[in-house]
Symmetry: C2
Subunit: 341 residues, 2 copies
């Protein structure tokens, strides 16, 4: 049964679920519907959540979703979608189990939609599918879209580029390599979360993060539990040019502690993005990256279709025999006359 | 000063170091020399080492290198190169510090060469550069090339494809998400290492791994500390068709415990690869993946050069205004007449 665009726009869950499968499977119908939905997208707040294994990201994402549904301060509940991406499971269906576990606390709520996705092939394919799911949720009227990735590698960085606000989750006592990861990941973090903050070592983790922030943003404002604790000299930060220094928020996701405060920080970051024009810049970067991914895939598809029969194997055989190098082979395989053939 | 191919082949460290920088920076000279070196490559054993942060991979890699240099059983020492790839540090120079730390126990040995590389851009670029470094070391006569990646995400899986034998490193007590990672990573593991095996929880970690192996390879042989502990019925595994079930090896890298046994398993795996023809298959897959990466980069380069001035920005602006979707934009941008223009 084909998916009707109107049903998706009207928030029909079944139509949306069918569309999400079409997008994941990259069908012609899915592509066509995404084209039609795109003009209706652009309203949602896209929040990336990433961090190393063992930090309790999934529980935290659950809690964030729950708090957006049940705001403590009497504000309007928001419609929430979760896209949980697992680039570390390229072959397994492990993400499906995660779905069942996490649905527990949010199940039965028609304004929450959770979709897990394990990688099916290349990283590029995963990022394209994630972008498609986010667009579908956005067009279907979900106001908050949480993009959760397992791990903290390059794949997660690429997927984090799909978000407006990126949360990087840490936890006390994760071992020696954690420092190395933080160095790279700090640059994509808009908000740092120290989850499992009831564990020993939380002060140490927070101190390390603050030290690295200070290195990365010397002389800028420093926050403590979301509150400003130091400010630079006025001449270093003109008042008309607000800056964002990633605040550090402690949480205990299993208890829900610190999650309201985290939501307040997320809202503050969105205000900052809007006030400074940074939201438009991030949106442009996000869409440009998506176009580039699609261009790349399109070029490779066309090249593959244009290859003369047996030519690819013939050239590869010469590489295996070490007659020509991989680069020389690539040059041969993309030489214009063959490509047009 | 240009790099002489003969100097690299003769094992001149300075020439090699210069070449490695050329490869990392993707210079025309580096590409040219790699083409000339390629026929001399193909002798090295390529060993990938991957696993989550906190598992002590770097110490383990050091120990493996040390044991290949100082074999316990009176065999010939091997020349060892280490390529340490850090896809999680796309922006930082963190990998450089790692270099200094790890050189300590192996410094001064002219037959050990360690090179760290942080990502400078796309994952594809990182994988291409890694493949280039590996080829250079291979042609320069390094017999063992260890390819170490931080993390256990899709990036690491892609880089693991560059190796003949892949070690996946775990450690006790790394938290809840570890299970999820193992599921995906098991399929690329040739040997599972439980490092930090003097810590509490090692039996539990090993039991979990063995359970997952049993699920993945029902009825196949099971190993315990490298020794066969169960075998399938003869009719399930014909004797003339050997199979490899990833063995589990405990190590304490900081003490060097279990590392000799690990080297024996690596050698066994290489024998298995050779006997079954799997080595040739993996080598073909590895080189094919590299050619594909280079084709992709070449196609995108050519497309970018062929773009009419301003056309890219013009089409992107229509996406930002949500007039056309990213996919429609990609189709416009790769339409043949423009591409050839």
């Amino acid at each position: 049964m084909p998916v009707a665009v109107e049903d998706v726009l009207a928030g029909n869950r079944l139509a949306l679920a069918r569309l999400l499968s079409q997008i994941e499977n990259d069908t012609a119908e899915g592509r066509q519907i995404l084209n039609e939905l795109f003009p209706h997208s652009g309203q949602a707040a896209l929040i990336g959540v990433t961090g190393a294994p063992g930090t309790g990201k999934s529980s935290l994402v659950n809690q964030i979703a729950y708090h957006y549904r049940h705001p403590a301060d009497g504000r309007q509940p928001k419609r929430v979608a979760v896209v949980a991406v697992d680039p570390s499971s390229p072959f397994s269906g492990g993400a499906v189990l995660g779905d069942r576990i996490r649905m527990h606390s949010l199940s039965g709520d028609p304004d929450v939609f959770i979709r897990s996705m394990a990688s099916r092939g290349s990283l590029g394919g995963l990022a394209r599918a994630t972008a498609g799911l986010v667009q579908a949720f956005d067009a279907a009227g979900f106001e908050i879209i949480l993009i959760e990735t397992v791990g903290a590698g390059q794949a997660e960085v690429e997927i984090a580029r799909l978000a407006h606000t990126t949360l990087v989750v840490e936890a006390p006592g994760l071992g020696d390599d954690v420092q190395a990861i933080k160095a790279g990941i700090l640059e994509i973090a808009d908000i740092l979360v120290v989850n499992k903050a009831d564990r020993p070592g939380v002060e140490q983790t927070e101190r390390a993060l603050r030290g690295m922030l200070q290195l990365a943003h010397p002389g800028k404002r420093q926050y403590h539990h979301g509150r400003l604790i130091s400010a630079p000299e006025p001449e270093e930060k003109p008042l008309n040019e607000p800056e964002w220094v990633p605040p550090i928020q402690r949480t205990v996701a299993t208890e829900g502690n610190g999650v309201s405060e985290l939501l307040a920080l997320i809202d503050q970051h969105r205000d900052y993005l809007k006030q400074t024009g940074e939201l438009a810049r991030r949106e442009a970067a996000r869409l440009t990256a998506e176009v580039d991914l699609l261009v790349e895939a399109g070029l490779v598809d066309r090249w593959r279709r244009g290859l003369a029969n047996g030519w690819y194997q013939e050239v590869l055989a010469r590489v295996m025999n070490r007659e020509i190098s991989p680069r020389q082979a690539a040059a041969k395989l993309t030489a214009s006359k063959r490509e047009e053939g």
